[in-house]
């Protein structure tokens, strides 16, 4: 993250210098093509959030003018923003993609998973995700995780090996040398692949602006009924808010990340265009997750523990 949006710097560039966005784009495309060449059944985790939208955009570019050789998988917590679901379905239809859905609600209805007292469903996504990977025999699963997001992710590989229980063992990860990714795995194991490993939040937004990628509207400032919990603005809804003592008010807000409604906080904002969003992020003094994710604040080791269990 930086506090200023960078300008072109003359003098350090040769005619062969790529801009940082071009370099990151080229690297991500290389990763998508590598997986297409080496795996049988790859799938892209697609939530309708900006990182998964970016992944899909890069994948489309990597294989143009042909269709992308992957399907999509949405782990549906049941607490989705309507705008995001609508966006998801529109994109799937527009590109003729195949969408798999793993539903947390379904697991709760069947009594396999229990609703948590705090109503948060993010931690409940792991089981539906891993069982879907097993039943569909996906051998490569693209995730939008970035290494700048959280300390436990700083050590994540681009190709991250998972065992048959989807578990991540930091000591079993392979060194990644040059750009020679090693995707070999035993039957039943799979590889999580993170094409956006080296992107930062600002890179993602700058690239979205440069490419003119359309996003769900909740990423831009709008009026919404919210209430405060744990220092964050949460959207009122059937998922369990507001509780007694929490008051709903109308505020001008936007979302920096999009996840389960119960733990995705909004920030006060009047940024209605991509340019304004970028300026706001560049000036922000809080990391994306620090500002907006209650579930990552649970403990210093929360993310590490969830990754070990097979979380994204």
């Amino acid at each position: 993250m930086t506090t200023t949006v960078a300008k072109t710097e003359e003098g350090t560039a040769s005619p062969y210098a790529l801009s940082h966005l071009d370099a990151l784009e080229s690297e991500a495309v290389h990763i998508f093509r590598e997986v297409a060449g080496e795996f049988e059944r790859p799938v892209i985790l697609f939530s309708g959030g900006k990182d998964s939208i970016l992944m899909l955009h890069l994948a489309l570019k990597a294989f143009a003018p042909a269709a992308i050789p992957f399907s999509l998988l949405h782990v549906d917590t049941g607490h989705n923003f309507a705008e995001v679901l609508e966006y998801r379905d529109r994109v799937v239809a527009a590109h003729g993609l195949r969408l798999h859905v793993a539903s947390v609600q379904d697991y709760i209805d069947r009594g396999v998973l229990k609703e948590r007292p705090d109503g948060t469903r993010n931690p409940l996504q792991t089981l539906p995700l891993t069982e879907k990977i097993q039943s569909e025999r996906f051998d490569a699963v693209f995730g939008g995780g970035r290494r700048d997001e959280e300390k436990a992710r700083a050590k994540e590989r681009v190709f991250s090996l998972r065992d048959e229980f989807s578990q991540w063992d930091p000591r079993r990860q392979r060194p990644e040398l040059w750009n020679l990714y090693n995707g070999r795995h035993a039957p039943g194991e799979h590889v999580r692949v993170f094409p956006l490993s080296n992107w930062t939040e600002l890179d993602v937004w700058q690239y979205i602006a440069r490419e003119g990628i359309e996003l769900p509207e909740i990423y831009f400032a709008h009026e919404r009924e919210v209430f405060q919990r744990g220092g964050m603005w949460l959207t009122a809804g059937e998922w369990g808010g507001p509780k007694d003592g929490e008051t709903v008010e109308k505020r001008q807000i936007r979302y920096r990340t999009v996840g389960d409604m119960s733990c995705t906080g909004a920030v006060d904002s009047d940024a209605v265009t991509l340019e304004q969003v970028i300026a706001e992020i560049a000036a922000s003094r809080l990391t994306e997750r620090g500002a907006t994710r209650a579930d990552d604040k649970l403990s210093e080791a929360a993310m590490e523990d969830r990754k070990r269990e097979g979380y994204f």
Binding site: K7, L18, P65, R147
Partner: protein, 442 residues
């Protein structure tokens, strides 16, 4: 603070750090992130909180770069962690490698993608065995730029003579190994001298701070001028009504430049044709260069698949089944003569067998131990390998992407070994004249 909303077009520098905890490496990295305003309020708050709970009075910047619980508990760092920061002038990806026992393979991993390495020494100890090892790894991996950060200058009263002596000794050693460029900078990571802000105390030093140097060092594009190489990753064939005959060969240009009209040869088949078009992610272009991901269109319908290499007809590498290389062994199980492995080179993976391990190299003094019989984790050595099929390898000295390979265990997929084709070290560069340095006459 200015914010502009115009799109940035800064370059990207990938660099690595080498040094031990005792040299103050975590503090240097923490300082770079902190002073370049890359540490955000919530991260700093977490560090302050953790420092207090450990009974430390000031925030321990080293905590910014501790990742996993095991490391926090043991106070060590395992493996390579990647950090991201930016200034108005450049975006940085830092491969932060730990400096303790298992560090060789981690340093090799970090250096494999780095265009610059920062090697840290403690001004009180000067060039020690470990410093020589770090220099040797940077030289082996052919990292184009090396920075020697002489840290803890505050503990030697900021004396110029201490710095000059260390800088001279290191530069002589690195030059001997063929490191093309060394920049020495006197710093105090703890006090912040010459990391981001120029030192108020060391007015005898006229060169750049660490960050200024990182911002201005030329991002290496020599690769655009050497042999053109495109390892084919994937064949794009839409077979739609709109594109009935489109056949594109997709890959990331590993070295050099391709132009429309270039006569090219496809290896290993040896068939020749011409480049009829270049698709740069959906946009037709006349020319493309490393590291762009492109799709090449060719005049003739040749049978080409993943694993093939497209090269200029006038500049094709020889193919061989016998590879000699310098390797770093990165797996816990040893590598022995007779070991059957898989070798991944570019986009091609072939069966191979370890024919001989002529020598093991001790990094401390660069001594060679003939016929060690096996290499264990973190060993560097020479290797002779026979592959099941001919491979078009370049010398690593010419091309880091097409001169490198990895060995994989066929049984469980473990990455065993990192390999660099050809000679270990570059021939020493002639010592530069003083006009080329930052005012230092070494």
């Amino acid at each position: 603070m200015t914010t502009t909303t115009e799109l940035s077009a800064t370059t990207l520098l990938r660099f690595a750090t080498a040094g031990s905890v005792d040299d103050g490496k975590s503090t240097l990295v923490g300082r770079l992130l902190h002073d370049s305003k890359s540490v955000l309020a919530d991260q700093l708050e977490a560090v302050e909180h953790a420092s207090r709970s450990r009974g430390q009075e000031t925030p321990d910047l080293a905590l910014l770069t501790d990742g996993l619980r095991a490391e926090r508990e043991q106070g060590i760092t395992i493996d390579v962690a990647y950090r991201y920061f930016a200034t108005p002038r450049r975006r940085f990806i830092l491969a932060d490698t730990p400096g303790h026992v298992q560090y060789t393979r981690n340093m090799v991993t970090g250096a494999s993608t780095a265009e610059l390495t920062v090697i840290l020494v403690d001004a009180r100890n000067g060039v020690v065995e470990q410093t020589r090892r770090h220099a040797a790894i940077a030289a082996l991996l052919r990292v184009p730029h090396v920075v020697l950060a002489v840290n803890k200058m505050d503990l030697v009263d900021y004396q110029e003579s201490v710095f000059a002596e260390i800088a001279e000794e290191f530069t002589a050693y690195a030059t001997e190994l063929g490191v093309p460029e060394v920049t020495a900078i006197p710093i105090s990571a703890l006090a912040g001298d010459n990391v981001v802000e120029p030192s108020a105390t060391m007015d005898w030093y006229g060169g750049p701070t660490v960050l200024e140097h990182l911002e201005t060092v030329p991002v290496s594009h020599d690769l655009a001028h050497c042999h053109a190489r495109l390892p084919v990753q994937y064949v794009i064939r839409p077979q739609t009504a709109e594109h009935p005959d489109y056949r594109g060969y997709a890959g990331q240009i590993a070295a050099g430049t391709f132009r429309v009209g270039d006569p090219v040869t496809v290896l290993p088949s040896g068939r020749t044709t011409k480049v009829s078009g270049i698709d740069l992610l959906g946009k037709p272009v006349d020319v493309a260069w490393t590291p762009q991901s492109v799709t090449l269109l060719l005049e003739d319908d040749i049978d080409i698949s993943r694993g093939d290499l497209i090269v200029p007809s006038k500049d094709a590498p020889a193919t061989t089944q016998d590879i000699e290389a310098t390797v770093c062994h990165v797996a816990d199980q040893p590598l022995t003569v007779g070991h059957r492995v898989l070798l991944k080179h570019g986009t091609r993976t072939v069966k191979a067998i370890v024919k001989d391990i002529p020598s093991r190299l001790t990094l401390d003094d660069l001594s060679l131990h003939p016929h060690p019989g096996q290499l264990v984790a973190n060993d560097i050595g020479r290797l002779k390998i026979r592959t099941a099929e001919p491979l078009p390898v370049d010398s690593y000295a010419d091309s880091r992407r097409t001169g490198s390979f990895i060995l994989i265990d066929p049984a469980d997929g473990t990455t065993l070994t990192a390999g660099m084709v050809g000679e270990s070290f570059a021939a020493p560069e002639p010592v530069k004249d003083e006009a080329d340095d930052d005012g230092w006459d070494f």
